[in-house]
């Protein structure tokens, strides 16, 4: 029989306000196996843990039940506490009487009754607990960063500077992400490329960083410390080592002049040839052939680039290559894009070329952009005199089909930035911004926005735009509301800029599934704890960086990238990781060798071997299941599938769960 100690936590008033803690102690004191029961204000505090240690020593406790908050919060804490007192940490069970009891029930009598039942179930389980020992698994000292934008770049640099090997996988031909498309960044108005390109170059030259560009992650298997990842290196059709980046091919490609392939980097405002580098400062500075549009790949004719290349670097026969690499940790930094605006017909985005998105405006204002930095209307190339900015297009929107429910966070700031930059260059321009609220939650952010109003006289109007109508004379008629002055406004505009909502990069769902990383309904990756663990996924070994986790601006992205890097370094610094001891176990006397368990195991942790078995005095060789404890993750699929009941799961055994059911249904 076990000697179990039960501790019931008040958690201040979190539990004690709805659960009669003293009564729970009274009622569980006489449960089978219990030799000690007590309550305390805050069990997780140092004083609380001291009480546990004292009780273990004084009463010679062999098992512990803590009735407190969720085991997901403090199971680790209490296990560590037990270990300090010399008790095996797996002889500890936590009954969740906070998140699943006191916080959701209002009637004190009901809540107390339920708390007692949950405590009884935990006590019944601990009676059957066995002292488990954690195993060890090695750690591959290499990290993978998926995504080569500012988040991925910063994370990789921090990890590499600490002395560990990092690989970046980026699906575009160049790293740099969205930030490479921007012109200037708020609130300092520095040139985005000027601060980004040095980091891009550093990444390329760093001895610890390997870049896989124009590549995608295809398959992930394994677990923390030992991930096996298949990376597909898509065929660029260029031999990397021979290309000098001279650019001859790009200038001579016939499709560059005929001009019908829209440039993704320039958001469709300009065209590009079939063999191209996304932008001049691309890293690596090696072009790629767009096989879908290239004449040679479509018809077998042309081949101009290959003939003209001075280094003979073009290889039309190049194939995709798949490499398999081992990693200890994976960071997801897949970034964002803006939503599709098809559902917002009222803004005439698809009808008029003079209605553009903010990213398109960034390209127009960028000196390396489609218009060389001259702000002009895409319809007639005249400079716009009246510009209207519309905020919250698709953000804060309750309707799922149209937009996103969240606030995209960055748009109020970038619109103020755009307005000020335009006014700076062309002071005669009239700029009006239609907003619902102006959100400026950062250091120097509100001052930045007020400069736009007070110094540059940008006209901020609280209200929204109902309709943008292209007029026969080529201008746009904007029908909007001014809520503070109580007027409906009909104004002429030469250009309308939409601050469209951001959404996580569409490819992220596939990646999250591959990594079994949690993702929410808006496609943002979920963190392990919203406040205290913002850069880790609940899945061990997966970390989050940048917009993939939630809307944020560049300063926050860089902070988070650093945080993710630190977590990765903390993991890679270990020589071995403790493995979960709650693994499956086969009773070889009962096993009939059917292989059902091996077939359902997602980790291939079960093999069948011929083993000597001693059954009722008879020594035999039988083919039975053997579980590899390093690979087993403790899911229990084999246990439920086993027809003979030979397979059981330590820590969640059949008898343990059955006894919990019994205790609840008593």
């Amino acid at each position: 029989m076990q000697k179990i100690g039960v501790f019931v936590c008040h958690c201040g008033t979190n539990i004690a306000a709805t659960v009669d803690v003293k009564k729970v102690v009274e009622l569980v004191r006489y449960e089978p196996g219990v030799v000690f029961a007590d309550d305390y204000m805050y069990m997780c505090s140092e004083a609380g843990q001291e009480k546990i240690i004292e009780a273990i020593k004084e009463y010679g406790l062999t098992g512990l039940v803590i009735c407190s908050c969720s085991p997901r919060m403090h199971e680790k804490t209490f296990r560590a506490c037990a270990e300090k007192a010399g008790l095996n940490p797996y002889m500890v069970e936590v009954a969740n009487i906070r998140e699943q009891c006191s916080w959701i029930h209002k009637d004190k009598e009901e809540a107390t009754k339920k708390a007692v039942i949950l405590a009884r179930a935990a006590i019944a389980k601990v009676n059957l607990n066995a002292p488990l020992k954690e195993g060890e698994s090695p750690v591959t000292k290499r990290a993978l960063v998926i995504g080569g934008g500012i988040a991925g770049i910063q994370t990789a640099l921090d990890i590499a500077d600490a002395g560990y090997e990092v690989d970046i996988v980026e699906k575009e031909p160049s790293i740099g992400g969205r930030m490479s498309q921007f012109d200037k960044t708020f609130p300092t108005l520095d040139c985005a490329s000027c601060i980004l390109t040095p980091k891009m170059v550093e990444v390329n030259q760093h001895p610890n960083i390997t870049l896989y560009t124009y590549s995608e992650v295809e398959k992930v298997s394994g677990y923390v410390g030992n991930f096996d990842v298949d990376i597909r290196k898509k065929a660029r059709s260029i031999i990397f080592d021979k290309c000098t980046g001279c650019g001859e091919c790009m200038t001579k490609c016939p499709l560059g002049k005929i001009g019908n392939i829209p440039s993704e980097f320039d958001r469709g405002l300009k065209n590009r040839p079939a063999i191209y580098m996304p932008f001049a400062q691309a890293v690596p500075a090696v072009p790629v052939i767009d096989r879908e549009n290239c004449t040679y790949f479509k018809t077998g004719k042309c081949g101009v680039c290959s003939k003209l290349c001075p280094s003979k670097a073009i290889d039309y026969e190049q194939q995709d290559e798949i490499v398999t690499v081992k990693y200890g940790a994976i960071v997801v930094a897949t970034g964002f894009d803006i939503i599709n605006l098809d559902k917002f017909g009222e803004y005439a985005y698809n009808e008029s070329p003079d209605v553009i998105t903010s990213i398109e405006l960034e390209r127009l204002m960028n000196a390396a952009g489609p218009t060389g930095g001259h702000l002009e209307r895409m319809s007639d190339h005249k400079q716009p005199k009246d510009i209207v900015f519309i905020q919250c297009v698709g953000s804060r929107c309750d309707s799922e089909e149209k937009g996103k429910p969240y606030c995209s966070k960055v748009c109020c700031m970038y619109t103020a930035k755009h307005a000020m930059l335009i006014k700076d260059h062309w002071p005669d321009t009239n700029i009006t911004v239609f907003y619902i609220d102006v959100r400026t939650p950062g250091k120097n952010f509100d001052e930045f926005y007020r400069r736009a109003v007070e110094q540059y006289h940008v006209n901020y109007i609280k209200g929204q735009v109902g309709k943008v109508k292209p007029q026969p004379d080529g201008s746009l008629l904007v029908q909007a509301a001014d809520l503070l002055d109580g007027k409906q406004i009909n104004m002429k505009a030469d250009m309308v800029v939409l601050a469209a909502a951001i959404e996580p990069n569409p490819g992220v769902r596939k990646i999250a599934t591959m990594l079994t990383a949690s993702i929410d309904n808006n496609n943002f990756l979920t963190e392990a704890h919203a406040k205290l663990r913002p850069v880790e996924s609940p899945t061990a070994g997966i970390f989050l960086s940048g917009m993939a986790q939630g809307p944020k601006d560049i300063p926050e992205t860089v902070s988070q990238a650093g945080a993710a890097a630190v977590k990765v370094i903390g993991l890679l610094a270990k020589d071995s990781l403790k493995t979960n001891p709650c693994t499956a176990q086969c009773d070889t006397l009962l096993c009939n060798g059917c292989s059902t368990c091996a077939n359902v195991c997602p980790y291939g942790a079960i093999t069948y071997d011929d083993v000597q078995v001693m059954d009722h005095g008879l020594r035999e060789t039988r083919r039975v299941a053997q579980v590899n404890n390093a690979l087993c993750q403790g899911c229990g699929a084999c246990t439920s599938a086993c027809p003979s009941g030979a397979m059981d799961l330590q820590g969640f055994s059949n008898r343990q769960i059955t006894t919990e059911v019994d205790a609840i249904c008593r």
């Binding site: 919250c392 804060r396 619902i436 735009v465």
Partner: protein, 129 residues
């Protein structure tokens, strides 16, 4: 529930929309073709209802000048459907006062060639019960 909450619940049920969701963005007002006739603007409908100023809303010109064109409903990002809220408010007050104002027999006499169907339907909704 207080009487105010009960009335708001009734409006929620009748219109199928929740006035609390309104974030006062003004897109409805921006889209309203009848705006110039309105003393209380579409973006104010939700706040009037939440405060319980039903009578004021009904006494206003706005509630009756609404064309039921549903532009505000189409454009509202929060699915508040101001047009339907006004409709529901009219119905609550009209029901409490009783009486029909538009008989089916009167309709042929009021018809004109270019009258849109929608106008007939909304007239019935407004002037019956």
């Amino acid at each position: 529930m207080t009487q105010l909450e009960k009335n708001i619940e009734a409006i929620k049920e009748m219109s199928g929309s929740d006035p609390y969701k309104c974030m006062r963005c003004g897109k409805c007002t921006a889209s309203c073709p009848a705006y110039s006739e309105m003393d209380i603007k579409p973006h104010q409908f939700a706040s009037y209802i939440i405060r319980g100023d039903f009578e004021e809303l009904i006494e206003s010109k706005a509630a009756w000048k609404c064309l039921s064109c549903f532009a505000c409903i189409e454009r509202c990002p929060r699915d508040v459907q101001p047009g339907k809220l006004v409709d529901a408010t009219r119905q609550i007050v009209a029901r409490s006062r009783g009486g029909d104002y538009l008989q089916p027999e009167e309709v042929p006499g009021l018809l004109a060639e270019d009258l849109p169907q929608q106008l007939l339907v909304s007239a019935f909704r407004r002037y019956r019960r």
